[in-house]
Symmetry: D3
Subunit: 237 residues, 6 copies
Amino acid sequence: MRPSGRTASQIRPVTLTRQYTCHAEGSVLVEFGNTKVLCNATVEEGVPRFMKGQGKGWVTAEYSMLPRATHTRSQREAARGKQGGRTLEIQRLIARSLRAAVDLKLLGENTITIDCDVIQADGGTRTASITGACVALVDALTYMRSKGLIKANPLKHMVAALSVGIVAGEAVADLEYIEDSQAETDMNVVMTEAGSLIEVQGTAEGEPFTFDEMQEMLELAKHGLRELFDIQKTALN
Amino acid sequence: MRPSGRTASQIRPVTLTRQYTCHAEGSVLVEFGNTKVLCNATVEEGVPRFMKGQGKGWVTAEYSMLPRATHTRSQREAARGKQGGRTLEIQRLIARSLRAAVDLKLLGENTITIDCDVIQADGGTRTASITGACVALVDALTYMRSKGLIKANPLKHMVAALSVGIVAGEAVADLEYIEDSQAETDMNVVMTEAGSLIEVQGTAEGEPFTFDEMQEMLELAKHGLRELFDIQKTALN
Amino acid sequence: MRPSGRTASQIRPVTLTRQYTCHAEGSVLVEFGNTKVLCNATVEEGVPRFMKGQGKGWVTAEYSMLPRATHTRSQREAARGKQGGRTLEIQRLIARSLRAAVDLKLLGENTITIDCDVIQADGGTRTASITGACVALVDALTYMRSKGLIKANPLKHMVAALSVGIVAGEAVADLEYIEDSQAETDMNVVMTEAGSLIEVQGTAEGEPFTFDEMQEMLELAKHGLRELFDIQKTALN
Amino acid sequence: MRPSGRTASQIRPVTLTRQYTCHAEGSVLVEFGNTKVLCNATVEEGVPRFMKGQGKGWVTAEYSMLPRATHTRSQREAARGKQGGRTLEIQRLIARSLRAAVDLKLLGENTITIDCDVIQADGGTRTASITGACVALVDALTYMRSKGLIKANPLKHMVAALSVGIVAGEAVADLEYIEDSQAETDMNVVMTEAGSLIEVQGTAEGEPFTFDEMQEMLELAKHGLRELFDIQKTALN
Amino acid sequence: MRPSGRTASQIRPVTLTRQYTCHAEGSVLVEFGNTKVLCNATVEEGVPRFMKGQGKGWVTAEYSMLPRATHTRSQREAARGKQGGRTLEIQRLIARSLRAAVDLKLLGENTITIDCDVIQADGGTRTASITGACVALVDALTYMRSKGLIKANPLKHMVAALSVGIVAGEAVADLEYIEDSQAETDMNVVMTEAGSLIEVQGTAEGEPFTFDEMQEMLELAKHGLRELFDIQKTALN
Amino acid sequence: MRPSGRTASQIRPVTLTRQYTCHAEGSVLVEFGNTKVLCNATVEEGVPRFMKGQGKGWVTAEYSMLPRATHTRSQREAARGKQGGRTLEIQRLIARSLRAAVDLKLLGENTITIDCDVIQADGGTRTASITGACVALVDALTYMRSKGLIKANPLKHMVAALSVGIVAGEAVADLEYIEDSQAETDMNVVMTEAGSLIEVQGTAEGEPFTFDEMQEMLELAKHGLRELFDIQKTALN
């Protein structure tokens, strides 16, 4: 029995609130149960130096937790003077996942930056970020077309992400914090709406996991991600 | 005529939403019109090193703007590797203002940290932060009493803050961004509910201001702050 | 009775020594009693990136205390790897105050940087810095005219600054360190020679202050600043 | 046909040179073809602060590339003033993988740090690092037993790692740089000698990958990792 | 003919002004012609961590140039966020030189820090710093004895330093900036009053120098340093 | 008797292995006994900003010790976030020494960077670095000529470096770590093959040294350096 009473494959209630703030070209508050992340997409002309002159655009991401998004306060990274390894790892994952959704050539020499700021954390903040950020990205692309910044739609396919894991010997989907902290294995799966994989990151936190357990987790992810794509679609209509 | 149609002394609609997030001991979303700041109060045992052994507590604050709280994206301070001068100046102001509300001896050797994170900015973020943070502080103190961490109530008086200024030659209260960016003078006033001053910071952005204009601004501030104290009181009941 | 035997409105002996060092375009040692600050003005062609192409100049300032300017040694900021919040706050104040003295259009695309380095501290270092820096600024402008870098004189009016405060319940002018450390309220006032205000920063260090006390402090400041403008004028002749 | 003439499942010649340097408690030069990483294990008494008082040890890792380990010189991270996201991500992976090999309780309150410095890079530096570091770890544990620092052997099982990927539509094992730079998918697999998984990190660099391709890559990894465990075993005898 | 009209062996007028500032336990303004350095010695109880428990004291130094000590303004190191290589090299030299003057055992577990801040630079700032710092050190030791912090005098011998060099093919002593910038070789010599060497640092800036030229420079240094020891002695009486 | 059984003037076995790694334009592993340093020379078009437009090239160097190059592990500078004073001092010395070997005009607007990474340390790492780096530099120049990047050979003369010192009252050459840690004086000498001096840095670690001892050390250095030039020559043929 899971702490929330959910079945092994059941994901938490997910909501996607668009236009959550008023300045960003795309602004989505994504909620997976008590996990709440604000995903703001910013459109800027030009690309970073290493991309210049290739006629292609760039999509990048930054991730941060508010200091008191968690049970105890964590030190503010701006005050510490650097972003931690976990933060860098997560924002690199978000950025790679979103770039996989976009045809950079159709984007022209423009940059889209997605800021994912965790307002409240209860497990799965990186996968919630990707799921919400993709919707904010779509809104930013719509904005760009309406302003004539791009002609064709650079979106190749929606992407979404889900965490799965092995808790107390059983594969479960969409772990909340209390499960995550006791999980033997934690796996994040990023998928396209067409059912192909963009990222799979499985980590044994306690005992190593078998190839069979890996299969079970992948199945749960595939199933839960279908739901997420429906929720994204509904939010965008 | 002000852009919002307000009179010179009229403040924007102000709301204070308590328990906005679930982990912090005090969590208040404060809104002054389109300016939205999340104020989370954290209670921790112990005090910073320079306060140790004095039998007194400490109240401090940190301030940050989400990168896309504003019209254009500003660089994330954690990524730049340091907090800017404006950020440090504001969080020092917030912290001093809140310490003025508390009897540090009655707090015992405990620390309260108030994180003020600007979700959306439209002028007056530092004064909104102080006004909201004081309510979060009260909730944190209530939490401490309920847990037996303190015996007496360390709150000396509520504090609130308001921005006033000279725009197009006229003194006005609670400037929104478009007014702020054209103001000749900008003044932030922090007051106690008893009507005494904690901080007055007036700055000529364009032309210097006269002693008479200073008086006018102070009067507007006094008047608007009375309203803010009522709104705080209502929120706390 | 004040520790120095001064009356409430009496400021300390103030001296302004021009051409204190030989390389800077303006170099003034300002002394307010035992407080000694070296203000060096540097003229450089060009402006910071955010000012480029506007046909206007820029005036900025940096502030630092020598590690042993004070009773006990404070850590060197260069060794710590960053400037503290107090330093940034002060140098922002100095820079804003000096910019208020200058017509940036008449300055052309040139930058004047004023370095205020505190050789010895005994209270009021920021107001002494502004008072001395304005004289160094005038010398730098004279240098620029003599070199043909500017045609008209960009100086709009002299500026000077004075600290006032409430000590033991009484308003006093030009606090020395021992008074400052016991003051209930500390207020810094920056004024033009025409008697208009550029900055007013009042802070309750202990008890909040009343609107009446604020008036008293402003009166003392106005009075003392007249003396400072005379001393500046004498130094420049 | 692969650039090296290898078959799809064929790994490069792998050598493990123990006692490569004279000071470290374990010192292994690992070579996967032209990829050469020096793995030095250091034993120190005590544990980091967050581990204190739990009676358990700690295993951590640091990773770095010499500036000219690659075709073009990359800036030295010490000169830049911070470790990049890629470096932090890799050293976190190495450390997690090695901790999975060790019973931290049997280690007592001691810390083993494994420094993985890439002397020459030709693809697969992180997986080579893990494979070599595990041998250095074993040597460090042997040292600890010989010195009486631990009684029982904390090693639970050997770990090794291999990169696999999809290049030109085909799954291949142990990619060298030229393959890696053109791979559609890159996957790093960390396994125990018992055949369980510690980490799986698959990333679509170009096209997303299918669940079937994922299976193929995992099979190649399992096969190649068996070889690596034999090579480790031989080196340790 | 030297720019100043000095003979090859002639040093500039040197003055040592003690008690230049009022807070430091030793405070000396040292002037070598136009080079002016303020040397403040601070006495603090305790020693750095790596020295603890050895019953010995520590002497260290920090060096900095005011941004406009030179012909053109150099960036403030505190603003850059780090001390440059030249600064670190010089302050390490000053500290080593001063430690060679002191019996650290007789100092007890106390630390003396000498801050050398260059007010105005005209060549030879590091050697002037050492020469002035040694006098500040003596004053600090006198202070310590008067306060009963130490019983015996830890001073082993005075130290002083002089720059010598090869300019236009000729060996000269005490180079001012204009000579220094054209010197083929620049050599700094730190000596004890007994005539033994503490540091010799010779650097070919242009052409390499011969062993004979090295001898000539050492002779000039020995001769000039005798004068400096007399000047120190006079200042201390 | 020296710990290694060497005579006072005898240097350790020195080897220079060229093409030690495959990517750098010059790559030399230099060994002085147990001291092993990898010197990689990188050729890049263009020069640093301060050299632009002068038609001259630039030669620079970076130095680092692997964390476990020494008996105990030292913290990785990239993780600490800055290079230490010792590192900066050494890499400045290496760079100056190499620039003295090259006619920068003949180099054109190209930059050669020599990375000296200490794989294993046993005293004399900076002098070994210079000796090995000069050979790597020659290989890089040969590469440049073969690619047509330069026409004439910019090499003015080979440079090499040796440490000498006073240990137990006797002058000795090429100190290994155990001698270095007990030396009264440590001196590094950088010479050209023509027998002129580029750098002499003598430091009294314990007792000051006499002018006579200085002579003895210089003689030993001159003698040992002749051997090093022969070894360089042999390696390059």
